[in-house]
Each structure stands twice: as C-alpha cells, then as structure tokens.
C-alpha cells in the first residue's frame, strides 16, 4: 500500500469507529434525547467529513473547472440527498462504503499494474565497460557499437552483441519463454534482456540500445495499449453516453413521479441511487486491464502482441495460412544430391557456390556449405537476383543461370534429362552455363519438431482451414503438407502471388472470422500486412517482418500459436463476462432502485463493489497455465 492509500485507510478506520458508536446510540434511542433538532445533522457531519472531505473538495474543484458529471460530485449529491431526507446514518455509511470500495479498487489496480510490469521487467539498468583495467557502470544508452562490455554472472545482458570471450549458459526465458538455458561462447550472438548464467562474458556490442532487442520489445508492448480492441472502443463510446443518461434519469425520477404522486423525499432518495451508479468505472478499468493482462500473459510465453485488437482478432481466427520454409520447416537446407549433366559434380558445386556468393537466401547458404571452400569474389561479376526465379551472373567469365524450373523455361534451357531421374524430393536448383544445362542440385529441408502437433492442436481448437504457401516446387510442398495434415497447399508461388492468394482466402471466409498468416519474414512483409493478423518469427526473422507483423513469436515455435489462441479466447471471455456482469448488476440495481426496493448500499456495491470484482476477474488473464 502506498502513502496515499494508508492515509485513506486511517480515515476509514476512524470514521468506521465513529459510525459504529453512532449506530449503537441511534438504535439504543439515546440520540432521541438530543436537545435541538439541528444538532443531529451536526453530530453526523463529523464522521461524514472525516471520511468524505476529499470527495467534496474534489467535486468543488471539478465544478469550477466545468466538469460536472464526475464521480465525486455525484457521490456528494447522493449523500447530501440522504442528509436532506434526514437519513444521516445512511449518508455516513454510504460514503464510508464508497471509500472502502475505492481503496480496494486502487489497491487492486496497483497490484495488477505491478504484476504486469514485473513480468515485463526486462529492461537492463546498466552496462559494465572496462576502463584502465577497472569495470565501470554506464547507462546502456551511452554505449556505442563495437564497444566491449563485460557481463558478470547473474546480470541482465544490456545490449545485443557477439561474445568475444568467456562461456556461459544464458537464460532467455524473459524473451522467449523457453526455460532451457542457451549456451553462449566465443562467437555466439546474444540478445539484450536475457540473463547471464554462471560465467563472465565479454561481449562486443552490435547495436545501440535504441535498436536493441530489449528496447524494441518494450516499445512494442508499451504501444500495444494504443491499438484498442473493438470491445474497448465500444466501452469508451458507451461510457461517454452512460453517465449523462443515468444522471438525466435521476433528475426525471426525482421530478416526474413527485408531480403526480407527491412525496418528494422518497423520489429524491431513489434518484440518489441512480447518481451513485452513474459511473462506468467498472467497465472503463476492467476491459483494458483484461487485454493488458492477456498481452502480458502472452509475453510470458515469448509471444509479443502489438495491440489488444490483434489479441481480440486471434480469438476469432478460423483460417491460418503458413509459409513453409522457416515456419513449418527448419529452414536449414542441405544439399542432398548433385546431378551432373555436362559438368562434374565438383564443378557444379564450385560454380553454383560462387554464383550464390552474394545471396543471403537459405538455399544459397546451403550450397556454399556443401562447397566447403572459400569463395573468391573476384571470379564473379554482374550478379543479379531475380526474385522467385534465381540468379543470373558471370563466373570466370562464363554466363551462368542458376534457379528453378521457371527460370529454365524462361531461358529456353532443356532440363528434361533431369526430370524423373532425381532420387530425392526437395528443391531442385538447375545450373546452366552458356545456355546449356550443366547439372542440378537437390536441396532438402526438414520439418520442424512439433509442427505436426501444432497443426493438430490448432484444428482441435476449431481452426477450420490450414493453408500452406510456398515458393517451393509442388512435389516437396505436397510431401510436407501430407505429413503435417495441411488442408490446402499452394506451391511455386512468387512473393506477389502470396499476397493475391491471401486476398482470395480473405474474401472466402465468413463475416467475423479472421485470417492469420505466419511467416519467417523473408519476402513476407506485404503478406503480413495484408492478413487480418500477421504473425512473424522473431529470432531468425527479418527486421522488416517484425515491423510489419502484428504478433511476433520470439522463439519461432509455431506451437505457441495454439497457446495464443487459448490466451486470446480466455481474455475475450473474461472481458465479456465483465461487461455483462457490470452492466447487469447496474441495470438491476437501477430498476430496483427506481421501484424503491434497492437501497443506497446496493447502489454503492453496484458502483465500486462491481469495479473491484471486475478487476479481480480481469487479473485471471494473467495467472493461468495456458500450455
């Protein structure tokens, strides 16, 4: 509890004691002996002011500022009303009850805010740099690229970098949700926000703090609350009308029945009940808090959600479109077969490796790996990458075309010799030298562990359609799809085809249903933006994809998607429960109050009591094990 809350608590205790004394006195008939009738309100005014003076002050100040429909003002009017009808004990009691509720509410909000921010407490406070043989602590903001920093055992890694000395196990759970620590030694890349294990590491910094993993994640999570979900927007709009409507209702309730039936006191009392219930606080707090909690829970599993709207959309997701390479498969390509047509196998690898020398495409990397010798850049010139097709370049002065069937067809190179003779299924890269087929290389990728379970679980959760898109050839695509039980496959797509395919699927789904696209980011940015929900792989994905994506899976594990569906559904369910519960209770108390059945106590419960319960309910989004 903070200072402010403690002060309120003391006032509550004092007022409560006085309230009990007055309650006993009144019920014991002692107060009937008060000599002057005006003395009664004055006696009750003492505890009333002790507990409610700040409310009255705030109300007065807000009226001066032109803010009339404010909670404090309404509480003041309501309790003054009770004084006016000589229900002194009720005036004090209601104010007391209201303050207790407010205290609870502020305590609950504080607690939940704390637990959410603790979960996101991945921000490093300092970095150690060595100066004249001594370690000094500096602000991570001030460290420049290339500086060597020292990370001691147990410290949080302040900046992204490459280990240059030392060995340790690094706990990445704050970023990825993965509990098994990762080994870091000379040459390994490490991310800020992770916690160092038992060894001291010297790390060469590769990015400024502003661009580091941890700063980017914090930025995303903090901005998440500005992307509001539909439900949140609805509540904001609703809140704007709710208070005036209920207040006008209160005025009407005080005036109209009195004109026909008389008995102003009774109707004034009932109108006061309306005023107490007129704050939409329960909704305004609990709905965003539910989403905030859901986003927090997701981040605990290494899933970054960039806005409540995406979490909400995730609960309605029925179509999932996945990229093959890097998403369903490991993206670690290996040369499994080399077919020689006019050149020897070694020559084929040699030329292919040089032709791909500049490319960062995974296929290129695998060819270079199979070649296993260093690339001499001067042998290659005029390299041109043709997206979705391959490469055109000159190696040792010879014109080289390296790519898929489409490229060969386009260039009129006959490759019929190869078709049907290859033993392995995989991506076939054809190599043509001076317009003639030299050979072919087969590269295969392996399916990620857990990919099949991931798809199985998504189907269990009611995802209607699983689609796989790939630029790869049909045979490979179909083989992967069969193993993973994917419903629909589209192979041999160019990057732009992926967008149009996703658009087609977007049109095909019914009304509220949502489509998610999952990709590792290479060439994916346009599709990620186009889909209702774009999910990118964080650890090996491209920066552009993480920018374009709405949700990022930090550890590239697609099993997390079903976890996220669970989190989103639970969040939305809790938010809806809160809306129904809060509005339901308020409505019932309003009706009962108008009929004279509900009293002021019920009204205060419908206001702050409901708030507290809704907040506690919202916090459930944080706690559960969603696995």
């Amino acid at each position: 509890m903070n200072k402010k809350q403690k002060k309120v608590l003391t006032r509550i205790i004092i007022a409560f004691v006085l309230f009990v004394i007055l309650f006993i006195l009144e019920h014991g008939g002692v107060l009937e002996g008060v000599p002057h009738p005006l003395l009664m309100p004055i006696i009750f005014l003492i505890p009333y002011l002790i507990i409610g003076y700040d409310i009255i002050l705030k109300a007065a100040r807000n009226i001066r500022n032109g803010q009339i429909f404010d909670e404090n003002f309404l509480m003041m009017i309501a309790t003054f009303g009770a004084f006016a009808v000589a229900e002194y004990l009720e005036a004090v009691g209601v104010m007391l009850f209201y303050q207790v509720g407010e205290l609870f509410q502020s305590y609950a909000v504080g607690k939940s805010r704390q637990s959410i921010s603790e979960m996101m407490d991945i921000c490093p406070e300092y970095a150690n740099i060595e100066e004249n043989g001594e370690l000094i602590q500096v602000d991570p903001d001030e460290v420049e690229i290339g500086t060597i920093i020292v990370v001691k055992p147990g410290e949080r890694i302040p900046l992204d970098g490459i280990v240059v000395e030392g060995e340790s196990l690094v706990d990445t759970s704050a970023l990825t949700g993965e509990s098994v620590p990762r080994r870091a030694a000379n040459g390994s890349e490490i991310h800020s926000g992770c916690v160092n294990g038992g060894g001291t590491l010297k790390v060469q910094v590769t990015s400024t703090f502003e661009n580091s993993t941890v700063a980017r994640i914090l930025e995303l999570v903090e901005n998440a609350s500005s992307h509001k979900a539909k439900v949140e927007n609805f509540i904001t709009r609703f809140a704007r009308y709710y208070t005036p409507v209920v207040t006008i209702g209160a005025v009407l309730l005080a005036v109209i029945p009195t004109l026909f039936l008389g008995d102003f006191t009774v109707w004034l009392q009932r109108a006061c009940i309306f005023l107490v219930i007129s704050c939409p606080c329960a909704l305004v707090i609990s709905v965003p808090m539910g989403f905030f909690g859901g986003i927090g829970a997701a981040s605990k599993y290494g899933i970054l959600v960039k806005g409540s709207n995406y979490l909400e959309a995730m609960s309605e997701m029925t179509t999932i479109v996945m990229d093959k390479t890097g998403t369903l498969t490991k993206g670690e390509f290996k040369v499994v077969e080399v077919y020689s047509a006019s050149l020897s196998k070694d020559e084929i690898l040699d030329i292919a490796a040089h032709a791909e020398g500049y490319s960062n495409h995974p296929i290129a990397a695998s060819i270079r790996e199979a070649y296993a010798q260093s690339i001499s850049v001067e042998r290659v010139r005029d390299t041109e990458e043709i997206a979705g097709h391959g490469i055109h370049t000159f190696v040792d002065g010879r014109e080289v075309w390296l790519g898929n069937e489409k490229l060969m067809n386009e260039k009129g190179i006959d490759y019929s010799l190869v078709t049907g003779t290859l033993k392995s299924i995989g991506t076939v890269v054809f190599l043509a030298c001076e317009g003639k087929l030299a050979g072919a290389i087969v590269i295969a990728d392996s399916i990620k562990e857990g990919a099949a379970q991931a798809i199985g679980r998504m189907k269990q959760l009611g995802v209607k359609k699983c689609v796989m898109l790939t630029g790869d050839n049909k045979a490979t695509a179909v083989a992967v799809a069969k193993e993973l039980q994917i419903d629909e496959v589209c192979a041999e797509l160019l990057p732009q085809d992926k967008v149009s395919k996703v658009e087609e699927l977007l049109n095909a789904k019914a009304g509220k249903e949502k489509l998610a696209f999952v990709g590792d980011g290479i060439n994916d940015a346009p599709v990620l933006t186009r889909a209702d929900i774009g999910i990118a792989m964080g650890s090996m994905g491209a920066d552009a994809a993480i920018e374009a994506a709405d949700i990022v899976l930090m550890d590239d594990d697609i099993q997390k998607i079903s976890t996220l569906v669970n989190i989103s559904r639970k969040t939305v369910r809790i938010v809806k429960q809160n809306i129904v519960f809060a509005l339901g209770v308020k409505l019932i108390v309003l009706i009962l109050g108008a009929l004279g059945i509900a009293n002021m106590w019920a009204a205060v419960f419908a206001d702050v009591g409901v708030s507290v319960l809704a907040i506690l309910n919202s916090m459930r989004t944080l706690g559960t094990d969603y696995k």
Binding site: Q67, I116, N223, S225, A239, V284, I285, F292
Partner: protein, 72 residues
Amino acid sequence: MKKKFKMEDLDCANCAAKMEDLIRKIDGVNEVSISFLAQKLTIDADDARFDEIMKEVQAACAKIDAECKVLL
C-alpha cells in the same frame, strides 16, 4: 514529434478517457493516448509548438483531476 510522458497519481480510468478527449482538441495535437495501466501519456504533436502544447496538455489534465500530474 512523438513523445512519451509518465503520469503521476492518475487514479481513475474514466478520467484518463476524458483527458484524452480534451487533449485531442488542442491545436497541433495529431494523436494522443493515455494508458491508465501503464500511467503513461503518448502524444504526437507539432514540433514547432511542442512545449506550448505540453503546457496546454498539463492544464487539460489538471482540469479533469487536479491531483494528477504529467511529468515533463
């Protein structure tokens, strides 16, 4: 220019929404969002008048809840 500010003693969520409404009406403010949970104000406003705008923002917040402060 987009900037973030911490807020102190922002006690009621409804007030945060009202503050947003008021701030949005200030001349030169392109976008504003107040997170009651993070106790943070994110504002995107014209560079030229930024300091002036922030003064108006503070006044707007004080108008809704006198105890709440924007820490500049």
